[in-house]
């Protein structure tokens, strides 16, 4: 937007598969990517055979609410599943069990550095099977694999609060971080375990209402592509708006080769899914006390942890945030840091050694002691023989005659070079402060 005549108005819909042990409405193993062959993780329920009935997965419902609470959502104490009808070969019942007007969670938010993105709703549904289009014996065939059919799927829908492609990307990444942190989804984008959709429209800068149209970017499997596609779509729409053309309401895909969006389906007629409450599944009721209990058992969230570590251990937030992906990992680090602090180990330095991969992260609780020992070993220093040190420095300086000159011209970075050389030549772990002081002395001479 060169002249900033228009601004982006964008809302996102993100689908993520939950990694429960079993599927959403049956006992089949929920592991579509690990299945040994197609249709091996299926049963009468997820194949929708005559007479089969769904039974809701309690864990999946609890995890959906867990995510909702982590995003500050309100929780519907009375909720239900609805049937969403459409015909597609990967949908064996002819309808998807989803949630229509009473999603488990609503009205939350996720902060990005570019502003708050309000969460409109989070609902729980089932994933579809997978179509494979192949040539077998020279004939084009379509095959269906129902291993993914019935896998629990959450949909997180935002308000149209996203105003730049960068913010869209940041929102997506933060959401993925949270899903992984809560250990409810692997968010494997390549495999389709997390799928992004953006509703894109533009409005003149200074206006505040929602534009009368939108295009839907669908089936995009990376944050980078999403950013590129939104960028492209903004330019395309701007051109049309300036030329006074109408923008088609349609579903668009992203062609990564031509770097262009392309039309997948026009949306002139609103689809009619004929939603109605699924009579096979009783409504889901919670008491406020149950929700409060779930809220209390929610793990401390990543931003809070990083902040707390900064206060307690003086760990820089940029390091703290890099050390863990999941709540379990953060837990182990907490025991590491508190144990290190008790042993009077410099926790901030320990953290930076972990980030710089000088020592490896503890995988389980019992690794904590070893990590502290590794760190201590890393930083144990040998006594410095000042005479020997001085000789080494002199030798390096005479081998590199330009260094002293550069230093006197103010190129202080030669100090780092000299430090490295001294450590290498001496072959010892020397106290960096002592080495540095001696080098400085030699350079001043």
């Amino acid at each position: 937007m060169t002249d900033n005549k228009y601004e982006l108005v964008c809302g996102m819909e993100v689908h993520a598969e939950l990694k429960t042990a079993s599927k959403m409405f049956c006992g089949c193993k929920n592991d579509p990517f690990g299945a040994e062959k197609p249709n091996s993780h299926t049963c009468p329920v997820c194949l929708a055979l005559p007479g089969a009935l769904p039974v809701a997965n309690k864990k999946a419902i609890e995890w959906t609410i867990k995510l909702g609470l982590a995003l500050g959502c309100k929780i519907n104490l009375f909720s239900k599943f609805d049937r969403k009808h459409y015909f597609y070969p990967d949908l064996p019942k002819g309808y998807q069990i989803s949630q229509y007007d009473l999603p488990f969670c609503y009205d939350g938010k996720l902060e990005t550095s570019l502003g708050t993105v309000r969460i409109h709703r989070i609902h729980l549904e089932e994933d579809t099977g997978k179509l494979l289009h192949k040539k077998i014996n020279g004939e084009d065939v379509s095959l269906i694999d129902f291993n993914r059919g019935g896998v629990p799927l959450i949909e997180i829908v935002t308000e149209a609060d996203i105003h730049s492609p960068e913010q869209a990307k940041e929102y997506g990444k933060k959401l993925r971080e949270l899903l992984r942190y809560l250990e409810i989804s692997d968010c494997d984008m390549d495999q389709g375990g997390m799928r992004l959709e953006a509703n894109v429209s533009l409005r003149p800068v200074g206006e505040s209402g929602l534009p009368s149209y939108k295009t839907e970017l669908k089936n995009i499997n990376s944050f980078k592509f999403m950013e590129q596609a939104i960028n492209f779509e903004m330019k395309r729409q701007e051109k049309k708006l300036i030329a006074g053309e109408e923008i088609q309401q349609e579903t668009l895909g992203w062609n990564t080769t031509t770097q262009e969006t392309f039309s997948q389906r026009s949306k002139e007629e609103a689809e009619d899914y004929r939603y109605f409450p699924d009579p096979d599944l009783p409504p889901v009721r919670f008491t406020q006390a149950q929700i409060d209990e779930m809220k209390a058992s929610l793990p401390e969230l990543p931003t809070q942890i990083v902040k707390r570590w900064e206060g307690e251990y003086q760990i820089e937030p940029r390091f703290g945030s890099k050390l863990f992906n999941t709540a379990s990992e953060a837990n182990i680090l907490d025991s590491l840091f508190s144990s290190a602090k008790n042993k009077k180990v410099a926790v901030d330095k320990l953290a930076s050694a972990l980030v710089n991969k000088q020592i490896s992260l503890p995988i389980v609780e019992s690794d904590v002691e070893k990590t502290i020992n590794d760190f201590s070993a890393l930083h144990s220093v040998e006594d410095v023989d000042t005479v020997e040190l001085k000789t080494t420095i002199e030798k390096i300086l005479s081998d590199n005659p330009d260094v002293k000159e550069k230093y006197s011209r103010g190129e202080k970075q030669v100090l780092g070079f000299l430090m490295g050389q001294v450590m290498r030549v001496s072959g010892k772990k020397l106290d960096p402060a002592a080495v540095r002081a001696t080098i400085l002395l030699s350079l001043e001479e």
Partner: protein, 458 residues
């Protein structure tokens, strides 16, 4: 011993346990009877050719006829639709597991209105079933095949399913006992869904006691059916031979137009309960005509959704294999759920449904059971359903209010016309989870009257 196929479940069980008769002999007698009459009456779509042995248990290898919308491993399951012709389910219904675990043997699969859509068994894609009492007449439906199987002594006892009248109306027309349990009392898992919010499988039997015995086997929680009641059911046979004195009976719908034929027989039945010491009075309920609208909309909506899985991609046959009745119901249900129409039709129907439930709550403050006719007429003549697509609703009107509320009910025969040999039935309805009451009243009535010729075999 002759006529082993005519034995009641109770008697058959006794004879087998006393080793006076082998279960295989009873099975063979039923198979012989099937071979003798099924060609004319067409109640079985498939059946055993030779006796089979079952596990040990209460049902002692006794032969049971099962409606063909219930998934079985040993027989095809077609729901009497061409679309599923030849379909063999890779799994069996929970009630089939229960029946087998109790020692029952599936004798064969019985005809129904295709997908259980109807009250005549005339909409079956595999030909209509005829009424064994008089083969110029229909058996009713949709469980017409199971009711006719019991009436024709081709089985010891049978399983039907009811959405609104589909057990009780054919039982009335065939002069047998049909018990529709409370919705959720018996698992629906493995039964081709018709209207998911009202489908209730139940027994069709020669006597009330037989029905109670089979219900004891069928009832109970099923973790595969989220709508099934987690509570352990009581023993239903314990309600046999219990007095009804001092219990309260409300008589319903006696002032309705069109009930002239059955009214005197229901009054007579009320008199019998009175003579047994019950307090009987006429009761006022919500107009059952409204239930027709509610049921028609809710049931069509659910049907249109439940049949959406038959896409033509699987089972070999595409949607052109649906019969006219299924197509009509799919279209009406689809319309009722359309955007902008769902509020007007489906949601309004659900609100009225809730009103009926409140009405019953009030009624059951005053009465332990409610009685009415099971059907306003005797069995209709062959071909009656073909002229009217709303055929079922008029016949089911008396059943629909309690069905949409999920209440239990039983049909017991109250009158046999000696000229036509056709029957009328009494419908006894109780509060949810009180099957014990409908059994208690049904049994008391049966034993206070002499119509039931099978009881002589007991």
């Amino acid at each position: 011993m002759t006529d082993l196929n005519k034995l009641t479940l109770k008697k058959a069980q006794k004879l087998v346990s006393e080793k006076q008769v082998k279960a295989s002999e009873i099975q063979q007698a039923c198979i012989n009877q099937i071979k003798a009459v099924n060609g004319d009456l067409n109640m079985f779509l498939s059946h055993l050719e030779d006796p089979a042995s079952g596990q040990e248990g209460a049902l002692a290898s006794l032969p049971i006829a099962v409606k063909d919308n219930v998934c079985t491993l040993d027989f095809p399951t077609t729901a009497s639709s061409k679309l599923l012709e030849g379909y063999r389910p890779p799994y069996e219904a929970t009630i089939m597991k229960k029946v087998k675990n109790a020692g029952g043997v599936v004798l064969g699969k019985t005809n129904l209105d295709a997908w259980a859509h109807g009250s005549s068994t005339e909409t079956s894609a595999f030909g209509r079933t005829l009424n064994p009492r008089n083969s110029d007449f229909l058996p009713g439906g949709s469980s017409g095949g199971s009711a006719a199987a019991v009436a024709s002594d081709t089985c010891v006892v049978a399983i039907g399913t009811e959405t609104a009248g589909s057990i009780r109306q054919p039982s009335a027309w065939c002069g047998v006992v049909g018990l529709k349990p409370t919705y959720g009392r018996v698992s629906r898992y493995g039964i081709a869904a018709m209207a998911s919010s009202t489908d209730s499988p139940g027994p069709i039997a020669k006597t009330v006691e037989d029905a109670a015995m089979l219900l004891d086997v069928m009832a109970g929680h099923d973790p595969f059916d989220a709508t099934s009641n987690p509570d352990k059911p009581p023993s239903f046979v314990k309600s046999i031979d219990k007095k009804v004195s001092d219990l309260r009976v409300g008589v319903l719908y006696q002032d309705l137009e069109g009930l002239e034929l059955v009214r005197p027989h229901i009054d007579k039945a009320a008199g019998i309960f009175e003579s047994l010491g019950a307090n009987v009075e006429y009761a006022e309920a919500m107009d059952p005509h409204y239930a027709i609208s509610v049921y028609t909309i809710v049931q069509r909506a659910e049907v249109s959704s439940n049949l959406a899985r038959y896409t033509g991609i699987r089972y070999g046959n595409d949607r052109s294999f649906f019969g006219d009745e299924a197509k009509r119901r799919i279209m009406l249900g689809t319309h009722a759920l359309r955007k902008g129409y769902a509020d007007k039709y489906y949601l309004t129907a659900q609100k009225v449904r809730a009103k009926f439930a409140l009405d019953y709550d009030e009624l059951f403050k005053k009465y332990d059971v409610l009685i009415s006719a099971s059907s306003p007429t005797f069995a209709e003549k062959i071909g009656a359903s073909e002229s009217s697509s709303m055929f079922g609703e008029l016949a089911d009107m008396l059943q629909e209010p309690s069905s949409i509320c999920g209440l239990p009910g039983i049909n017991v025969p109250v009158f046999r016309d000696p000229e036509t040999n056709l029957f009328l039935g009494l419908n006894i309805v109780a509060p949810a989870w009180r099957e014990d009451l409908v059994i208690q009243f049904g049994d008391a009535y049966e034993k206070a009257t002499s119509w039931n010729s099978w009881r002589n075999n007991d």
